[in-house]
Amino acid sequence: MAEITLIEAVTQALAYEMQADKDVIVLGEDVGVNGGVFRATAGLLEKFGPNRVLDTPLAESMIAGIAIGMAAQGLKPVAEIQFMGFTYPALDQIINHASRMRNRTRGRLTCPMVVRTPYGAGIHAPEHHSESTEAIYAHTPGLRVVIPSSPARAYGLLLAAIRDPDPVIFLEPSRMYRLVKQAVPDNGEALPLDQCFILKEGRDITLVSWGAMLHETMQAANTLEAQGVSAEVIDVATIKPLDIETILASVIKTGRCVVIHEAVKTCGVGAEIAAQISEKALLNLQAPVLRVTGYDTIVPYLKMEKYYLPSEARILNAVHQTLEFA
């Protein structure tokens, strides 16, 4: 089996599910002939035709808004927004409508739609192409928020997201799009939408992360291993609903935890995780839960963005602080 990248896994999942379910419709800007600015929808127009792959006019509120209407009619729209920085015009439709339609109508109208978007910094792109505001979506009842961090998880989680009967925000770490390759069988098997994945078992400390930051997190875990520190690494994967049980079990075992994300610190998802750990496992904690995050600033343009993103060194620093806490 050929090894594929994360973005190819996205394409593979889209093609699989479009084949399996004729109600699945892909829409967005440049998703047709062009195959998406990142090539996520490459080949789909040729395969499924212009009734299944819709190149839209340039309007993000529109993309989200029509997806709601389509979903209410039983279609399963998978909308692409070109970058997370361009999802904000769609927030009104997502927060005020997509997330509420089932509840509002007591189950009469539902909203089985997916909004896919590349997210995160570190790809040397222009302004607005480096956003990581997953916390906004995680704060919105009625949504699911999913972030794959490997080709296999991208494939399995995207299938699950499309099949889910409720709206899912699917955030694809663009820095990871072509970072690693992996053999991903095209077997249509979905992954659970409400579970963390333990990427590495460990005894001394729990590292919790998601998206592209898992790259540095795994690097740090490997460095720690060489230093004789056994770190457990958890990929949260589904930010909402949060599988706090898996995280708690790990922290209860290790007694120490560092949460790593690239979003700004204040009111990031890391705060929620730290708050829950501190609430539910206070007596198990041998040190405060530290957060290694993007700073509370706007992601700098490409010249300086590397100083914004948490580095392996910053993670190691926090880990050592945690280990030395007394």
Partner: protein, 363 residues
């Protein structure tokens, strides 16, 4: 300089404010029974509406937006639609909703603060009332997209106010409808006011109909107080959309005779004289004049129908008042198809807290 494109806006009216035909009536209207039916529906809408206001004033319901004076818009369009079409309303379309199988008690329940009011029992596809102004236009465009993809001969109808035409979502749906030649009809209820902002301050457009030109399709004006004209233009637009002819935007010119909602006091910003003048144009008297002149309606019939309406509305009110309280856990149970694990604890909590909370709860 050369002229590369020209456009024009048409206006349709069949009955003048005195109920006199201004041109030969369309086919359906030569059948007076159909007109009596439209008349009855408008009266029923008004009776319902007045009662809803009373319910709010007497603390039996929440804020309510009256559609007084705009009955022809809703009744005309509701009457023209087919069952299989889909309506995406704002919140002044009760006259249309009744014709679409939505129950009076459901509408009262909604304004009474009960989500079950939007779980229409006899209509599974229409969208619920829409509070964020203009947003429903995109839902309608999405529904129309589904119709087109599935090649179904159905039409999405979206209704909004004059104020809503200033919203980006309204325009984005107009543009998409044109670009994709969608089976959709936009009906703008131009009741001259958006709360306290008059139509003249909302936009510099001579007509709201011309907003359609920005989507590359036809926009037209209709006398929204003339239910015959209203029904006629909507039916024509539906037919066009149903047969692949694409979208139409209809500006219905009418007037909001009530306050914006029961929470508003239009005296603060609206001229009494303007209101009085508007009363002379209202749709119900107009059609009554015509039907009476034609010998198809009388004071006796009026009294009988008024009584029948009151009774029907009263019964709906009783139904509404008899709806048992919603379940405490509904706020969790309809949020997702299946309760996610992170909500299980909170769901138990709301039950426990309700017992605990007792009178401490906000009222």
């Amino acid at each position: 300089m050369t002229i590369v494109a020209t456009f024009s806006v048409e206006y349709t009216q069949f009955l003048d404010p005195q109920g006199k035909p201004t041109q030969p009536l369309p086919n359906f209207a030569t059948n007076c029974e159909e007109l009596v039916e439209l008349y009855r529906r408008m009266v029923l809408t008004r009776v319902f509406d007045a009662k809803a206001v009373v319910l709010q004033r007497t603390g039996k319901m929440g804020t309510y937006p009256s559609s007084l004076g705009q009955e022809a818009v809703a009744v005309g369009l509701g009457n023209a639609m087919r069952k299989e079409d889909v309506l995406c309303p704002a919140y002044r379309e009760t006259g249309a909703q009744f014709q679409r199988g939505i129950k009076m008690s459901e509408i009262l329940a909604y304004w009474g603060g009960d989500e079950r009011g939007s779980c229409f029992q006899a209509n599974q596809d229409d969208f619920p009332l829409c509070v964020p102004i203009g947003t429903q236009s995109l839902h309608a465009a999405g529904i129309a997209t589904a119709f087109k993809i599935r090649q179904q001969p159905r039409v999405a109808v979206m209704v909004c106010g004059d104020g809503a035409t200033s919203q980006g979502d309204f325009y984005e749906s107009v543009n998409l409808a044109g670009a994709w030649n969608l089976p959709i009809v936009f009906v703008v209820n131009n009741n001259q006011w958006a709360i306290s902002v008059p139509r003249s301050a909302q936009t510099h457009c001579q007509t709201l109909a011309q907003k359609a030109f920005a989507g590359g399709f036809a926009g037209e004006q209709v006398d929204g107080n003339d239910v015959i004209a209203m029904r006629y233009v909507v039916e024509r637009a539906l037919e066009k959309a149903r047969t692949g002819g694409g979208p139409t935007l209809i500006e219905a010119i009418t007037y909001r005779l009530h306050d914006h909602t029961t929470a508003d006091d239009a005296n603060r910003y609206r001229d009494k004289a303007e209101l009085n003048k508007a009363w002379e144009l209202e749709p119900i008297a107009r059609l009554r004049h015509y039907l009476t002149a034609q010998g198809h309606w009388s004071e006796g019939e009026e009294a009988k129908w008024q009584a029948a309406c009151s009774q029907q509305v009263e019964q709906a009110v009783q139904e509404y008042l008899a709806i048992p309280a919603p379940s405490l856990t509904d706020m969790f149970d309809y949020l997702y198809a299946k309760l996610p694990h992170d909500l299980i604890e909170q769901r138990e909590q709301v039950i426990a807290e309700a017992k605990l909370g007792g009178d401490n709860h906000h009222g």
